[in-house]
Symmetry: C2
Subunit: 351 residues, 2 copies
Amino acid sequence: MSAARIPAPLLEAFTAGCLRAVGIPADDAASVAGLMTEADLSGADGHGIFRLPQYVKRIRSGGINLRPSIRILRERAAAALVDGDNAMGHLVMRHAAQVAIDKARSQGVAWVGARNSNHAGPASLYAKMPLAHDMIGLYIAVGNANHLPPWGGVDMLLSTNPIAVAMPADTQPPIVLDMATTVAAYGKVKTAAQRGETMPEGWMIDREGNPLTDPARAAEGFLLPIGGPKGYGLALVFGLLAGTLNGAAFGKDVVDFNADSVTPTNTGQLIVAISIEAFGDVAAFKRGVDRAIDTMHGSATLPGVDRVRVPGERSHAIRLERETAGIPVHAGLYAALEALGRELGVDMPTP
Amino acid sequence: MSAARIPAPLLEAFTAGCLRAVGIPADDAASVAGLMTEADLSGADGHGIFRLPQYVKRIRSGGINLRPSIRILRERAAAALVDGDNAMGHLVMRHAAQVAIDKARSQGVAWVGARNSNHAGPASLYAKMPLAHDMIGLYIAVGNANHLPPWGGVDMLLSTNPIAVAMPADTQPPIVLDMATTVAAYGKVKTAAQRGETMPEGWMIDREGNPLTDPARAAEGFLLPIGGPKGYGLALVFGLLAGTLNGAAFGKDVVDFNADSVTPTNTGQLIVAISIEAFGDVAAFKRGVDRAIDTMHGSATLPGVDRVRVPGERSHAIRLERETAGIPVHAGLYAALEALGRELGVDMPTP
């Protein structure tokens, strides 16, 4: 598929315009559009502007509170529970991250959970927020649709509950790990289906336990967790930490936000901010991360592998490229956005 | 292999006796022996009495400080860095867990790292410590030997850096996830080699990237991370959090404690205690965990699977069985322990 390149500021302005057009106050629309564009810049293509039509649909269906009161429900010196009041998830988690950073500055570490939130884009967005404060960020979320059964089971009771960890380096880009607890995220399956490609064995199995490689048959099977029972265990405990502990949805209570645009999702997420200075010298830590990166880069490689990478490296390179060349918008998405813009009276920028 | 069954209290007394015989003060010997026996009771067979000969060897080689001053080096309200002073790792992490629990009681959450520690047994031992205080425990460690290359690489720069998370339920046993970031722990490879068994594909590859299934050839290859680049990413960030952030060994600095019994390992570990009450009602959370367990148990299963389990369930069943029937000690280990006991003047209990 061909992809038009749109400069990030133009795409961000378009996104903000659409969000304003469906009733989101200007400041909030700007915040959400900024984070969505940051997702696209970082290469999280399934979590940026790609989601705009779905967000707009949910907003128009009354599934999002446009005048939310995002507030702290419960608080300790190093912990807080934020009620998102069914706001756009980006607003909830930006707020939660700020609370975590403020508390970690004085307490060393802070853990902030959220309930009544919504889909907030890629996990890395929030894990990266503490970086500017010489902190490490850790983010965990309950995913917004169940595609994963418990290990050995066939009932889809779990989401791909992701984790992201971001830590600053000295001269190198930060290490940013952002991963689902399944071998493939469900978005990859959808992309393979769109492109008519076959999936590798190991992504999905059918209800008999046989490999499922035809993405058009995805509805007949389910995703596989990383490391079998281990990935299942991670998805389960991440779900309990980000969902149950926060009084948010988990298991059968998770609302499939692809199929249902009305029911509040009560999405649960959490962010931990860790002040490096609480454990040692900040500059020494950053040099240590640089050294770790150099060490990994220095590894000899398997046949056919050009070089070893570290998490976040590819995303950083994509960011540099897209800041200059613009964000690629594939033809199908471009048409959908153009139509959405026409409907809302917002001009989709031309490539 | 046949296994003698030894009642846990007798095995614990033997372990404590051996540790005292090589110079560990009685109180510390009792603490370490108690935790090692708890590891065996919980089914972590590679992390309990199995390690005693190796611990004794390191102690006799001067590789452990028998009169350590375990102390807090750096402290914030919700964070601390503990210096283990090259003590037995069990003593360091028991101390660190207590600091984390005390801080979490007042601050809601606390994160305590350790440096200059040593091998401390299974990760679950420490993650479980907060449970008795209505807290969730999370433990991460840098492993004590590098068996994992970065993804795409062939240089073994990472350990199987494990994570454990424990959370209390109401009527059900607690959920206890304890996992390496590799598909198989290295101990499983050793066990397969001892038993002359073939390993399944997916555990290890050789330096050409081909599956390695003969455990006798383990030295020619390396472990595979769960989910390929994802498990590599987890091992890397866990190593940086538990190692580098604490000023402990990571990467090339990790001492292979199987090969070297003298050099201080400067092992890094971390524990996080999360007070449930900081986020909501404790009883409601525990009922939520029960409900999650029931939901997973209720899943229909794949052909050939009797039922779905949750993390910690097998270990809990083993514990109940072993508390009654005793801890199984395989013939080879029994002979080694008997010989060790003879040397140290401590009688190995007879089955």
